[in-house]
Amino acid sequence: MGERKNVNRMIGTLLWIFCFLMFLPMVFVIINAFKTFGEVVMDPLALPEEWNLNNFKEVMKTGNYVKVFLNTIYFAVLSGTIVLVLSSMAGYKLSRMDNRASKITMLVFMIAMMLPFPVIMIPLATVASKLNISNNLTLVSVLNAGFSCSLAVVMYTQTVRGIPKELDECAYIDGCNGYRFFFSVIFPLLKPMTGTLSVLYFIRYWNDLMLPMILISKKELYTIPLSQLSFYNQFTQNRWNLLLASGLMAIIPVVILYIFTQKTIISGIVAGAVKG
């Protein structure tokens, strides 16, 4: 038994070394995000002469970061809300109905999980510009919700299966109106799944580059990844101090969210992967 404990301790140490090596690059990223451009060019390995937030301030100013930040939150929260409300409704009825129509609908919903975005990108851009969706964050969010709902529909359908059918029948006999019954009885029961999905979708939308890239061209509507990319294309010689600072600013909010909800995120992602 003692031998086994030693083996476990050794594996634990190895894993810590592995993590350390894995995050070693991040140390250099952080160091260089605090340097001046001259310092990065001269010696990327050295520590900055003075630790200050100048790079971050410059990114905020030139990238109009406050606006960009708010845009991203608006885009992520609005798309997420639409997806969660409509997919929970759809998932509820899909799991209750047991006929061909519902099975086919389910299959149709699942197609999107397999195909990469470029497959629909061209018509999407055309349709969006014809319907004046481009450069309107609200409508872009609606579009975004429509094409990314698959995971939520599948996960909600699975979850509703665990809620007894008798509950519906009681309400039916009582003459309870469908929507009211759903939102006052079923939706609260789905809370854990809603929590998981809202975090997953928030991260996904926060990080999304491609959809905003083809639908948003106005600078004042940029989301974070878009503004990072335009920052990157702006200089011929990469201003590493600013790019790395902008990178850190983009991931810090998600990392903070991750620290508090990592168990939910991981179990949600595993469930989504296995079911998809």
Partner: protein
């Protein structure tokens, strides 16, 4: 009578509950997908309103296009490499974390963490490390590894890209394998322990065969992950040097939105869709056979 009422009610419910999401999904996913097929037979360029029907010309041109074949080759080789390494590393890490290790929750969280970073940032980080920082490490250490242009060498860029993608996603594969391991039935394992089975034999003869469903899922996910890595490629290498790291998704994007050959890009999208559906069908069949 009763069934008729029930059917009517179901139809009404379908309309009220499922239809709103389905409608958005159809407008913004299914219709564009079908439209892609339509565009693939035209010379649509996104600007000119007069679109001409060109039949199978785009498809014929695609197969003669060296850059398309190049991107297909890059996609296939990166998918294969990534599939092997992501699954091996993910599985080994999961095996290690499945033991009684004190800080395993923290370790799991740390290894998984890069998966939530956005692709643009991951591209920045590694372009900086591989393209900038490494050149300064060579004079200090004298190690040949740092002398190589990992992102500027046409042959090596494939490995660099797969490496970065692994750094970002190995935690993802690890947590899926870990969940698979934790769901395994305990009886065969206990029986094997009683029989005095060796550790390695237990993994190859008991764990791996039982884990087959998870392995299939992970193999398929590895393919989807490589197809979806074009935002990372954009900031890491932008397809370069030359076209050495251009995968098919990135090539479709470039053709559609930079060269404005949308009809042509649509034809490539259709081919890609068919390829993916073939792989998906294969995966589904294998999974079904297992059950």
């Amino acid at each position: 009578m009763k069934t008729k009422v029930k059917l009517k009610k179901e139809g009404f419910d379908f309309f009220r509950f499922i239809f709103p999401m389905l409608l958005l999904y159809i407008i913004f996913f299914i219709l564009p997908l079908l439209q892609t097929i339509g565009y693939s037979f035209t010379d649509y360029n996104g600007i000119n309103p007069t679109v001409e029907w060109t039949g199978f010309n785009n498809y014929l041109a695609v197969f003669k296009d060296k850059l398309f074949l190049n991107s297909l080759l890059f996609t296939a080789s990166s998918a294969l490499l990534f599939m092997i390494f992501a699954n091996t590393i993910g599985f080994v890490l999961a095996l290690a974390l499945n033991r009684k290790i004190k800080s395993k929750n923290i370790l799991r969280a740390i290894i998984f963490c890069p998966f939530i970073f956005n692709n643009v940032t991951v591209g920045f980080i590694w372009q900086f490390i591989l393209g900038r920082l490494m050149t300064d490490l060579y004079p200090l250490t004298g190690w040949e590894v740092f002398k190589i242009g990992w992102l500027s060498n046409e042959k090596l860029v494939l490995y660099s890209v797969v490496f970065v993608k692994l750094w970002q996603t190995m935690g993802y594969f690890m947590v899926i394998y870990l969940a698979g391991l934790q769901m395994l039935p305990q009886d065969p394992v206990e029986a094997a322990v009683i029989d005095g089975c060796s550790r390695l034999k237990m993994i190859t003869h008991i764990t791996l065969p039982l884990l087959k469903p998870t392995i299939f899922v992970c193999l398929f996910l590895a393919i989807t992950e490589t197809l979806n890595m074009y935002p990372l490629l954009m900031t890491l290498t932008n397809g370069g040097p030359g076209h050495a790291s251009e995968n098919i998704s990135l090539y479709i994007y470039v053709e559609a939105f930079k060269s404005h050959r949308m009809g042509y890009a649509a034809a490539m999208s259709v081919i890609l869709t068919i390829l993916i559906l073939m792989v998906a069908a294969l995966q589904m069949r294998l999974t079904k056979e297992e059950n």
